[in-house]
Symmetry: C3
Subunit: 244 residues, 3 copies
């Protein structure tokens, strides 16, 4: 059994962090909360989301796994008004999730969890350089880089975080000294990433007050942030090869 | 002769209630006010609109009929600012309607009323169940049902109003108990309707504080509401055959 | 050398006045400020823009000319937040303009000024009738005329400014008496203009508190207005031949 109540907007924001990368996911639900781990179809980006039981207004469950189509779930969640709660209740027999929003009761057919792509093992990388900055600022930099190129270099040098995008015609460079960052652990870091993926991630991380980037030299980028108080999101993005 | 002044927004909202179903209509104007009766091209929905003479700031007319292209009229009305009045004056000789908005004077060519589809005789049905609810709530339920299906069942059972939409995969059920309705006259009622038409109607009824639905078993749906204080709108929507 | 700081929104609004007509322009920069003169590809409209040195927060230059792609420049300026300043610095050696917005540094490749269409000589016409009105009101009238036709007559008669648009079906007439204008110098004036061009111009002039129109009989229209306090824009629009 699984029965829970949560603020609709919180759940929507949490799901958005995942649905920007994958459509169909497995919810792993235990008494500790709800967890999603997924990798995008091209194997470039991974996402891990944890909604602790205390992020819910009400939460009661036995350990279980359900397969959910996030596009359809987001469709239902979009019907809730600001501040409204959403009731979730699993109908195990019929493989359906009942979603109540106000006087609406929506029945979402579940996907067989074995039909969903296997959850990735998220590697436990120890990345040397860490940068913490407001999500809005990172999002803006990503948007700026997109005007110029499809790829962007993220790096740390001395005591600043930098971003470089070189297009065929124009180029962009962003430098944020440590004094203007929320946090910096200096280290050797410079890697190239696809702006498509960063842009997908930025929809969600752009709302976070603090985003931490963990980087190395030609190493994956790890992005950590929270949705609201109790929901943790981690992205891991594979680097691209820098061509001269 | 016909000469009138009315708040532009009021007239726009009134015309929108009709133009969601038909483009070309006949205005029947008498000293009591302006009346439109029309049926949509597929003969599924009828609309009847009455703007009483007292909804106008100024109203003077002889009994007459004019044919109006609502798309072009709405185009002109959209140029008025919030709160602004619109002057209407018939130029009988040239078959034109002069529309004044502030310092703009727009001349709208009229359509020969005999070239417009005959006004429907709106049947005087005595439908058993009546439900009154806020227009915004009905609109929201219609929007929710559209996420799931093309058709929706509206019905009354015991002391609640319900709506059911069944899609190929998911389904939706809305129940509003009489305690949460603005009014309920219980009766046997359950009929299937096209969501396309309900959605068209909902643009207009969604702004009304009170909407009354009159229903029966596999019978047409009658929808009554007001635009502002003095404008009455009635829709009549034919049912669809429910297939199991 | 050229180095300047200016409010990003001011520069964006100024560039918009030009980019509605032409994409690639020559900036003529002297110690007095920055000047652009350009003619649209069809030779129907000319624009002249002057940003005086005192419109800048900081301004230091030697006399020079640079070729700029306004689409790309506007793209960069759109990244600035409201109220933010933008730093401009010419890198003469590499034919680039460095544009700094906050911690972003954008490098814009310049166009060879000799590859840009020659600046027009803007004729010094002495037009008899002058009309001054709020930009927003002119913009609204242009939008209204577009609902009816592709062309519009602008004219002055006795003590009013008028606009006439005749479509195949409907027509529009706007009259503003001198008492409702900000200024009127009466004179013989009636000319036909393309609404496409007026609409392009209206994006920018619609924000101006005062716009002055100078007109004659079948003569070009001159439009003068300011962006902010210190930026002067002049448009000159060729008339069309009025057909009966």
């Amino acid at each position: 059994m699984f029965k829970a109540v949560i603020n609709a907007e919180t759940l929507r924001d949490a799901m958005e962090a995942v649905s920007s990368l994958v459509d169909e996911v497995k919810f792993s639900i235990t008494e500790k909360g709800l967890e999603i781990k997924a990798v995008d179809p091209a194997n470039v980006a991974m996402v891990s989301l944890k909604i602790g039981a205390d992020a819910f207004e009400y939460f009661k469950t036995t350990p279980l796994e359900i397969g959910v189509d996030l596009v359809r779930l987001n469709d239902v969640l979009s019907m809730a008004d600001r501040g409204e709660n959403v009731q979730l209740e699993l109908d195990e027999e019929n493989h359906k999730l009942r979603i109540g929003v106000g006087s609406l009761s929506y029945t979402l057919s579940l996907i067989d969890p074995t039909a969903i792509r296997k959850e990735p093992r998220i590697p436990d990388l120890d990345l040397p350089a860490h940068v913490t900055l407001p999500g809005g600022e990172l999002r803006r930099a990503i948007k700026a880089a997109e005007k110029v190129s499809d790829h962007v270099i993220l790096g740390v040098s001395d005591d600043e975080f930098y971003m470089e995008a070189k297009g065929d015609i124009d180029s962009l460079r962003l430098k944020i000294p440590s004094t203007e960052l929320l946090g910096l652990k200096p280290g050797e870091a410079r890697s190239l990433f696809s702006l498509d993926y960063l842009e997908d991630m930025s929809k969600s991380l752009g709302k976070a007050q603090e985003v931490t980037l963990e980087m190395g030299i030609d190493y994956p980028l790890r992005v950590n942030f929270k949705v609201g108080q109790a929901i943790e999101v981690n992205y891991l993005l594979a680097p691209r090869i820098e061509q001269e």
